[in-house]
C-alpha cells in the first residue's frame, strides 16, 4: 500500500512542482463544510467562525492575501473527495479544511497525501483520523478528550453506577467505550450501555429503560443538533425527581441550541473545551466580533474550532514567512501553541492532534440567557489512543 502511495506521489510531485509559482501572492484555503442537510447548523457555525476570524485579523498575513473558498460537502464522502481534488487541481488551494463528519475527513485523506496539501480538521472527532494522512492537523477535539473529564468528575462526585445512552454510530460508540473505560477505572460501574438509532429522534424506550435500572447517573451523547430533542424527552421523564443525575459531553448542551431548551436543563453538568461564557479577554473579543459579523448569533464549539483553524493557518504562514509549500506548512503547524478563545491550545508536534483545555460546566442562567458556566478546569488532555 505504501508503495502505491509513493508511486502516486512521485507522479504528482512532478506535476505539482510547477503549481506554487502560479499562486504567489494569494494563498487559497479550500473549506469543505456541511452547508446543507442534518449537519447544516455545524456548517453555519464553521463558516461564521471563519468570517469572525477574517474580520478580526484581516485577510493578509506574511505578505500574502488569504482567499477562502467554501464548498458544500452535501454530507456525502465521495463527493467531498471529488471537491477536495478539484480544489487542489483547479483552484490550486494551499490548505484544505473543515470536514464535519469522520467519513468525510477520511475520504479527503488520500487527496491531502497525494497532493501534499495540509488538511485542517475542524469538527470530525474520531481519534484515528489524524493517523490516516501525514497532512492532517486537528484543531477541534477527539471523543476521549471530551468524555474522560466527565467520567472522572462523576466518579469523584459520588456517582457509583451509571447507564450510558448514545446514538448508534461511530462517535457515539466511541463515547460509550471511553466513558465506560475511564469510569470503571475510577471504580464506577456501568450498568447498561444503550444505543439509540441515529436516524430516529425517539429516545423514549431507552430513557425508560435507563430510569428503571436506577443508576446514580445517566450519561448521554448525541450528535450536536439532536441535543434539544433528547433533552426534551429527558426532562419529560423527570430524572431529577428519581435522583438520577444526567451528565453528558458538551455536544448535548450546544451553545447554539441551549437557549431553546428552557429552564429544565438548569444545573446539568457536562464536559467540553468551549463555552461561549468562558471568562477570558480572548473569548470576550471573539464573542463580540462573532456576534457583530454574524447577526448576533452565539458561537459554539464548531465556531471556535473554525476560528482556531484559521488561526493555525495564519500562524503557520507567519512561521514560513509566507511560503505556502504543503510540507513546510504542516511542519510549521506542528507544535504551535496559542491562546484560543477556549483557553490555551496546542497542536501535538508528534501526532498533529489538538490538545485542547477541558472544563466541567453547569448550565446556569446569566443575564437572562442560559450558558454552560465553567466551574472546574481539568487541564489539557492528550488523546490517549495515539502512540
Amino acid at each position: 500500500m505504501r508503495r502505491q502511495i509513493l508511486k502516486g506521489l512521485a507522479a504528482s510531485a512532478l506535476a505539482l512542482a510547477t503549481l506554487p509559482a502560479l499562486a504567489q501572492e494569494t494563498v487559497k484555503v479550500g473549506l469543505i463544510l456541511p452547508m446543507t442537510g442534518q449537519q447544516a447548523s455545524t456548517g453555519r457555525q464553521l463558516e461564521a467562525g471563519v468570517k469572525a476570524y477574517m474580520a478580526q485579523h484581516g485577510d493578509k498575513v506574511a505578505g500574502k492575501k488569504i482567499e477562502v473558498i467554501i464548498k458544500d460537502d452535501t454530507g456525502v464522502a465521495d463527493i467531498s473527495k471529488r471537491l477536495a481534488q478539484e480544489l487542489v487541481v483547479n483552484d490550486k488551494v494551499s490548505v484544505l479544511g473543515g470536514f464535519g463528519l469522520t467519513p468525510i475527513a477520511m475520504a479527503v485523506g488520500p487527496v491531502a497525501t497525494q497532493a501534499k496539501v495540509p488538511a485542517v480538521i475542524m469538527t470530525a472527532a474520531t481519534s484515528v483520523i489524524v493517523e490516516q494522512s501525514p497532512y492532517f492537523v486537528r484543531v477541534g477535539r477527539t471523543m476521549p478528550q471530551m468524555t474522560f473529564p466527565i467520567a472522572d468528575w462523576a466518579a469523584k462526585n459520588g456517582v457509583k453506577t451509571a447507564v450510558t445512552l448514545v446514538s448508534d454510530y461511530a462517535p457515539g460508540i466511541d463515547a460509550e467505550k471511553f466513558f465506560k473505560q475511564r469510569f470503571e477505572e475510577a471504580g464506577g460501574k456501568v450498568l447498561d450501555a444503550l444505543r439509540a438509532p441515529l436516524a430516529s429522534p425517539d429516545f423514549a424506550a431507552f430513557l425508560q429503560k435507563a430510569k428503571d435500572l436506577k443508576p446514580d447517573a445517566l450519561f448521554l451523547f448525541v450528535p450536536s443538533g439532536q441535543g434539544a430533542t433528547l433533552m426534551k424527552q429527558v426532562i419529560d421523564r423527570d430524572f431529577a425527581g428519581s435522583k438520577i443525575r444526567v451528565i453528558a459531553t458538551g455536544d448535548v448542551t450546544d451553545d447554539d441550541l441551549l437557549n431553546s431548551m428552557g429552564d429544565s436543563v438548569l444545573g446539568m453538568v457536562t464536559s467540553h473545551d468551549y463555552s461561549a461564557d468562558h471568562d477570558s479577554p480572548e473569548n470576550k473579543a471573539f464573542v463580540e466580533i462573532f456576534k457583530k459579523v454574524n447577526n448576533n448569533m452565539r458561537p459554539n464549539m464548531m465556531a471556535v474550532a473554525a476560528y482556531d483553524g484559521m488561526d493555525v493557518i495564519y500562524r503557520a504562514l507567519t512561521t514560513t514567512k509566507g511560503d505556502a509549500n504543503g510540507q513546510k506548512l504542516v511542519d510549521a503547524m506542528k507544535g504551535q501553541k496559542w491562546m484560543s478563545p477556549r483557553g490555551p491550545m496546542e497542536i501535538d508536534a508528534a501526532t498533529r492532534e489538538a490538545i485542547p483545555p477541558m472544563f466541567i460546566r453547569r448550565v446556569e442562567r446569566k443575564n437572562g440567557e442560559l450558558y454552560n458556566v465553567e466551574f472546574e478546569a481539568t487541564g489539557p488532555i492528550k488523546d490517549p489512543t495515539h502512540k
Binding site: T36, Q85, E86, A170
Partner: protein
Amino acid sequence: MSMTQPTKPVNDAGARLLSGARWRWYEVLFWVAAIALFFVFGDFIPGIPTRLMLLSEIISLGLLALSIDLVLGYAGIVTLGQGAFFGLGAYVAGLMAKNGMGAFPLSDPLLGLLAAAAVSGAAGFVTSFLVLRGSDLTRLMVTLGVALILAELANQMRWLTGGADGLQGVMSSPILGIWDFDLWGHTAYVYSLVVLFVCFWLSRRIVHSTFGLSLKAIKGNALRARAIGVPVNARLVAIYTLAAAIAGIAGALLAQTTQSASPDMIAFHRSADALLILVFGGAGYLYGGLIGAVLFRVMQDVIGNITLQYWQFWLGLVLVLLVLFVRGGVIGLMEGWWNRLTRKGDAP
C-alpha cells in the same frame, strides 16, 4: 452502423418491433461527445478547469439510473432499492482493493468490477423472488426494505465495513497494472466511460432482443403476456438480476475512482436520487438515466456554486417544474420536438 439482427423478422410487425436495434446518428453523436469531454475538461486547454472527477461521478450515477431503467422502464418493476446493489458493489470493490494491498492481480480494478457484479447479481437474484410477490406498492416497500437492511448491515458490521466511518485504506491499484488513478481524473474518466459503454451496449442488445420485447409485453400487461406464453416470473428474475449486477458495477466504479466506500453509498438517497434522475431524463430509453445524471449533477454543481446553502431549494424547484410540464422526461421532450420538426404525427 446497423447491427446484424439476432433473428430475421418474419413480417412487418416483427421488423418494426426490432427496428430499434439500429444505431442512429444521434446515438453516435452522444458517444462522440462523451469522448470529446475528455479533451475539453481534461486540463489540456488552458483556462478550462478539470472536471473529469465530476464527469466520472456522473457516469457512475448514470449507470445506476440505467440499471433502474432496465427494471422500471422496460420491465415495469417499481424499485426504491437499487441503491442496495450499488452500495454492495461499492463495498465489494472497496474490500477487494483494500485486501489486495495494491498487489496485482488481486486488487486489479477490473477484477473488483467482476466481483462486484457477481455479488450484487447474486443478491439481486435472491431478492428477486421477493419482488415477484405483490404489485407496485408492495414492490416499492420490499425493495426499500431490502435496501434498508443492507444499509444497516454495513453500518453494524464494523469489523468488515468500518461502520459509519466507512472503509479505510482503499487503495485502487493501476488498471491492468498499467494505468494509475491520478488527481486530475484522466484514468478515472476513461475507465468509467469504457465500463459504461460496455454495460450500455450489453443492455442495448438485451432490450432490443426478443427477450427485451417480452419484458415490454410484461410491463404492458403481465396477465396477457402470460397468456401468450411468456414465462413472466423467469423473465422478471433474469432482468432484476442483471440490473442488480449493473448497479453493482456502478457502485464499484465509484468506490474505485474515489478510493472509498462508506455507508452513504448504500444509503436510501442513492436509490431516490437515481430514480429521480431517471424520471427526469426519461424512462424506457436507456439514455434517459445518462442524460438525467449529467443535467442533475451539473445543475447541482452550478447552483451550489451560486448559493451554498440553498441549492437544494432551487434544484428541487427546477425538478418539480420539469416533471410537471415535461412528460416523459428530457428525452420525451426532445422526441416531441423532433417529431413536430419532421412532421411525423405519431410515434413509430
